[in-house]
């Protein structure tokens, strides 16, 4: 795993000697392939050029460690610099940017690797006894500054890594967040995660049957596994989304489902974004959403196209050319508006899948949607898994970017998309960004009453003295815009420290008081001191 970038060490984008983009490694569909369109896309979208490459430096500075209380318990631990640095950050832009520059702030002073519930109980007890700050760590994929060590923390900070506590096989939980390869179950629970196939399987709160969490007060759990209970407010909801402020999730019982026998991707092109949203809303209303359905705007559609790998035979390349021609020229001629792509993924047994697929396409047709093949569909999903790798490539060439998300009622989806994208562009311009930024969105989840919208935002920072600060200002403005337009503070990324300034207005004073009093009761001396959320 990389310590200053996303994902596996062997997988990354680079420009080869011929100046063509290539994705290394063997893990992904794109791995080992040449991606000819990427360079042009980067150059035309951001004005980057291969001549200008910024370099990443590697000089982590380390604060010397503290007490050795844990040794007696036999739980493995480490004060090795790399281990500690790796657990001192998530994947927010400013975190990665600082790492690449070799600027590392406060990191945990020690890492411990408990292997079971009892280990965690021991660690928490010792931490309470010695007044040590514990920060639970799952996969380290946080994008809310949740893993950042509070700089004002004077106690020793111990990172409690739970990632090795998981083993499962043979079934699927159906929970597939975009960070699935790296994130952990405990992390999903602690952040109220959402997976892209939630339409079939549900979000984490629907999947969880039973949770055990170790807190400074003791262990919290329910007494049975009934599928639903009327026993006052659901105590699971204190745990789900507590973001490591109350304790460590040690055991989770989840629903499992048989692996689907058949899965099919698809795509639909709509004449414009408005029609696409209307179609999604109709699909949601009829409750016939496939496992996953998402709608990209035109910029993201182009982005997806730039990631098309080089094809091996002349024939497929010819066919491909025809397809592109058909989509970009023929359809566009028929409808001069921008192209927008919806991607349904249908899962289940073959017959049902085909039937379901037809139903979705019929609805799409009513809104002017034209089927555009499985390929386009698959590519849409590929983007989700490689986008984080792509950011690392971008940073080599003065591009910085980030994604953020919100949930919003159906009647405001279009307004949020339009206004937030426009706000990003305006703020970049105001802040002196010299090239037009990438500001794009997709509607990525549908619910009965609304949708989750996901934004990508990136810009070329050449000529800016403090790009991260500019970046943060723009992101802040974008979030303000989301809230002003009736969007939520977060759909699934969580609050962490990045968004906690908005918590009070989000949940009201009383709501804040409720959460605080829970924290005060459960963890009076703030052992779980990552200072997220509140």
């Amino acid at each position: 795993m990389k310590w200053n970038g996303w994902g596996y060490s062997d997988s990354r984008f680079l420009y080869n000697k011929k100046g063509q983009a290539e994705f290394t490694g063997k893990r992904y569909r794109l791995s080992g392939m040449i991606i000819p369109g990427l360079k042009d896309w980067m150059e035309s979208t951001f004005g980057t050029s291969l001549q200008h490459k910024s370099s990443a430096t590697v000089i982590p500075t380390i604060n010397e460690a503290f007490v050795e209380e844990i040794k007696t318990t036999g739980i493995p631990f480490s004060s090795d610099a790399e281990d500690r640095v790796f657990r001192g950050h998530g994947h927010c832009l400013h975190e990665i940017f600082a790492l690449r520059e070799g600027k590392i702030g406060r990191v945990p002073d020690m890492v411990v690797w408990p292997s079971c519930h009892n280990d965690v109980v021991k660690i928490v007890e010792l931490a309470c006894k010695n007044n040590v700050c514990l920060i639970p760590f799952g996969g380290g994929t946080s994008v809310s500054s949740a893993l950042e060590c509070p700089p004002e923390e004077t106690r020793s900070i111990v990172s409690l890594d739970t990632s090795q506590m998981l083993n499962e096989s043979g079934y699927c939980t159906g929970h597939e967040p975009d960070s699935m390869e790296f994130s952990s179950l405990g992390g999903w629970v602690a952040t109220r995660a959402s997976g892209m196939k939630k339409n079939i399987y549900g979000n984490i709160e629907d999947l969880v049957i039973h949770i055990k969490m170790v807190t400074p007060r003791g262990v919290i759990e329910k007494s049975c596994q009934g599928p639903r209970m009327s026993t006052g407010p659901d105590i699971h909801h204190f745990i789900l989304g507590s973001e490591g402020t109350l304790g460590v999730v040690t055991e989770v019982t989840m629903k499992i489902r048989p692996l689907p026998e058949y899965q099919k991707y698809g795509s639909v092109v709509f004449p414009n974004f408005e029609q696409g949203v209307a179609c999604l809303r109709e699909v949601a209303k009829r409750r016939c959403a496939p496992a996953s359905i998402r709608l990209m705007d035109n910029e993201q559609f182009k982005f997806g196209h730039a990631l098309k790998p080089q094809v091996s035979s002349i024939f497929t390349s010819f066919l491909d050319g025809l397809k592109t021609f058909y989509i970009t020229k023929v359809i566009q001629r028929l409808r001069p508006q921008p192209l927008v792509c919806g991607h349904p993924v249908v899962r289940g047994d073959r017959e049902k899948v085909l039937q379901h697929e037809k139903q979705v396409y019929d609805i799409a047709a009513k809104f002017g949607g034209l089927a555009a093949g499985e390929d386009n569909g698959q590519r849409g999903y590929m983007l989700t898994f490689v986008i984080a790798y792509l950011r690392d490539l971008g940073m080599d060439y003065y591009l910085i970017g980030e994604s953020f998300e919100t949930s919003v009622p159906w009647d405001r989806v279009l307004d949020v998309c339009r206004n937030v994208k426009a706000r990003i562009i305006r703020e970049c311009k105001d802040k002196g960004v010299q090239f037009p930024p990438l500001s794009t969105c997709r509607v990525t989840q549908t619910y009965d009453s609304g949708a989750c919208v996901y934004f990508y935002f990136a810009f070329n920072y050449r000529g800016l003295s403090d790009p991260v600060h500019v970046y943060e200002q723009v992101e802040h403005a974008a979030r303000e815009e989301i809230l002003a337009n009736g969007g939520s503070l977060s759909h699934h990324h969580g609050v962490g420290k990045l968004r906690k300034g908005w918590m009070r207005e989000t949940v009201s004073d009383v709501g804040m008081g409720m959460l605080k009093s829970v924290k005060e009761y459960v963890d009076p001396s703030n052992i779980f001191g990552n200072r997220n959320l509140l």
Binding site: D411, R412, R418, N419, A422, R423, A484, N485, G486
Partner: protein
């Protein structure tokens, strides 16, 4: 007082304004027909979803808001939904514009001909046009012209057509509909018609607001309306009406568009077509009902020289930046946006203050002609009948010219001409109002002396006509002087140098005249500081922590400034006097103006009143509105009529305070 530095950047001398271009010049040199038929391809809004006038009507009738209100009204009144739907489509039919390029071309042709005979030039700032074009491309645009004449909106459309800009749709009063042919012509040139009052008619409000919002949200055309609500008969800007502005800002506040650009437009006429019409109206001759034949008759009278028109397109104001930090837009998140709701207090305050700042933006770019200064000076002459020697008038005008420029007035003084040429050409243009005889300039007070028996009362009224016309020209410059003039009056009235006491009096006067002049709400301190800054900068006063001291050479300015407000002070005083002495318990609102007028005529005849200007019904109505606002007079609803209940003690003390007999009431003034 420490934020004086914040004002220095607003030094009015440094105001930068664009240059003008005469659009009539080209019309005089090339074919009007070719101009009317030329290719017209305006820049449109970038996210425009094109839709014709009938599709627009359907969109409005099918909108969630109209459906919702129909079901509400149906529940309340028991009328069927179909019935109400019918009514709604009737309302849309009555209201909707039917903009047709051919009609605009016709107007372009006809108006060019008319304007060329009426006006010397129509000057437009082309930089403003450039800015407007860009604004139209970027965001939905609201055009907010000042309103001094019937000409205004035809003139606007003509200019936009000339510069190949998107033609606006214009909110017009229903009274135009009375003119059959013209009403329809206006409709086809982009006017849509609003009832003057629709009180509690929810359905009307819903249809009408949805109509305006639909046009804005889709960026179909710039929406144009008059912030002042009606033509200002006095050339003073009127207190802005908030209804339409509220509607226009709504799509932004509710996130339905990214931003909206508000463009204040200042239209200044060197000589107003309706000059005497307005004066007579304010003296009680009722305004003639708009009729087509009337308009043609009016055209005959118009074979005179009306000088030039200046149209200044101001800096587009982004509603988004206006609202930044002022309005919490999250407040609209919890209810569906199509359900009509009363605006919250912060939105109301925001819209109100925005409206004032927009009217001030209009005022700032109003072009003042030398005649405005001459009128101000003439009205201050010791004896209106005898007038002022020409040489003295010229000297004073030159002095006032400098003062006006120092205070930031947008004065168009032709510097290439000698002062006496400037003065005499102004006097010639306004020959109906002034006479020069025996080297003295005086108002044409006796020109109305017609044959037949004339009662002394009628004579008083007819003498007042030129005075009131003249005052309306002086009023054009009032916005430049009003703050320093209020301060000068306060210094004079308070009869002390103590800054706090002067401030108290200033605040009292400012509050009293809030219906008379454009004074932004909640800006007393800023206005006071602005006034102090201007007077200090021009060496009229010296300021220290506690005192305001008038310098030796400042007396002339102080005198001029306080004399400028005297007619208003006397007007308010005498209205107070009327209410104390004459008003019976059953005085109704309708009877108020005629009763005051009779009272005033008596006083004028007796020679106890100096300014015939107080006969202006506008002034009397404003005074009454102020008294109602201050609670000195209350409205009491009785059966059919509303009568006025006077609190004689309060009114009496107000009168005395205005006269400087009583110190300013403490309670009314905040600490500085």
């Amino acid at each position: 007082m420490e934020n004086k530095a914040a004002y220095s950047h607003r030094d009015p001398m440094l105001k930068k304004r664009d240059d003008f271009e005469d659009i009539l010049e080209e019309r005089r040199n090339s074919s009007d027909l070719r101009y009317a038929l030329r290719c017209y391809t305006p820049v449109l809004y970038k996210n425009l979803i094109p839709c014709d006038a009938s599709a627009l009507k359907t969109m409005v009738l099918q909108s969630d808001q109209v459906h919702y209100v129909i079901s509400q009204v149906s529940k309340e009144t028991g009328r069927t939904a179909e019935d109400l739907q019918e009514e709604a489509s009737g309302i849309v039919e009555e209201m909707a514009h039917r903009l047709q390029l051919s009609t605009v071309r016709f107007f372009a042709f006809a108006l060019s001909k008319v304007f060329k005979t009426l006006f010397k030039s129509i000057c437009v700032n082309e930089d403003g046009i450039q800015r407007l074009q860009q604004a139209i491309h970027e965001h939905p645009v609201v055009l907010l012209p000042s309103h001094r004449s019937y000409m205004d909106f035809l003139l606007m459309s003509l200019i936009l057509y000339t510069y190949d800009l998107a033609l606006p749709v214009i909110a017009a009063g229903m009274d135009f509909m009375g003119m059959k042919v013209v009403g329809e012509m206006l409709r086809m040139s982009g006017a849509f018609f609003l009832r003057r009052s629709f009180g509690g008619d929810k359905l009307y409000w819903a249809v009408f607001s949805e109509y305006v919002k639909t046009i804005l949200k889709n960026g179909l055309a710039p929406v144009e309306f008059f912030l002042e609500g009606t033509r200002s008969r006095t050339s003073k800007s009127l207190t802005p009406k908030l209804g339409l502005l509220n509607i226009a800002m709504d799509p932004f506040l509710k996130g339905e568009v990214f931003d909206i650009s508000l463009v204040p437009v200042s239209i200044s006429y060197e000589r107003i077509l309706e000059e005497t019409l307005y004066a007579r109206e304010m003296l009680g001759v009722p305004k003639p009902k708009e009729s087509t034949s009337g308009l043609f008759k009016a055209r005959k009278i118009l074979s005179e020289d009306y000088g030039s028109i200046h149209v200044y397109f101001g800096q587009p104001v982004s509603v988004r930046s206006l609202a930044e930090g002022r309005v919490n837009r999250c407040q609209f998140s919890l209810t569906p946006r199509h359900i009509p709701k009363r605006a919250s207090e912060d939105v109301q305050t925001f819209v109100n203050e925005a409206a004032y700042s927009l009217v001030r933006a209009q005022e700032e770019n109003m072009v003042l002609k030398p005649w405005v200064l001459l009128a101000s000076i003439l009205l201050q002459s010791e004896d209106l009948d005898r007038g002022i020697p020409l040489a003295e008038l010229t000297e004073q005008a030159l002095w006032l010219k400098d003062l006006c420029r120092q205070y930031g007035g947008f004065l168009h003084w032709p510097d290439q001409m000698t002062p006496s040429e400037v003065v005499s050409s102004s006097l010639t243009l306004h020959h109906g109002l002034v006479r020069v005889s025996e080297g003295k300039v005086h108002l044409a007070l006796n020109k109305e002396a017609q044959a037949g028996p004339v009662t002394p009362e009628e004579q008083v009224l007819s003498r007042a006509v030129p005075v009131i016309s003249c005052a309306s020209y002086r009023n054009q410059a009032l916005h430049v002087f009003v703050r320093p003039a209020l301060l000068a009056t306060a210094v004079h009235t308070a009869a002390t140098n103590n800054k706090q006491e002067v401030y108290n009096t200033f605040s009292f006067l400012r509050n009293l005249f809030a219906n008379e002049f454009i004074l932004c709400p909640n800006a007393t301190v800023q206005d006071f500081e602005e006034a102090c800054f201007l007077l200090e900068k021009t060496g009229v006063v010296q300021l220290n922590e506690q005192e305001i001291i008038v310098t030796h050479r400042g007396h002339r300015t102080m005198g001029f400034l306080s004399r400028m407000l005297l007619p208003f002070i006397q007007g308010y005083q005498v209205v107070c006097a009327f209410l104390c002495e004459e008003a019976s318990d059953v005085l109704t609102e309708k009877e108020f103006v005629p009763a005051v007028r009779t009272f005033l005529i008596k006083k004028l005849l007796a020679g106890t009143l100096r300014y015939p200007e107080v006969l202006s019904s506008d002034l009397q109505k404003n005074a009454l509105a102020a008294l109602l606002r201050l609670g000195a007079v209350r409205k009491v609803k009785r059966a059919e009529q509303t009568s006025l209940k006077v609190n004689k003690v309060t009114v009496n003390s107000l009168e005395d305070t205005l006269g400087g007999k009583l110190p300013t009431p403490r309670a009314a003034a905040a600490r500085l």
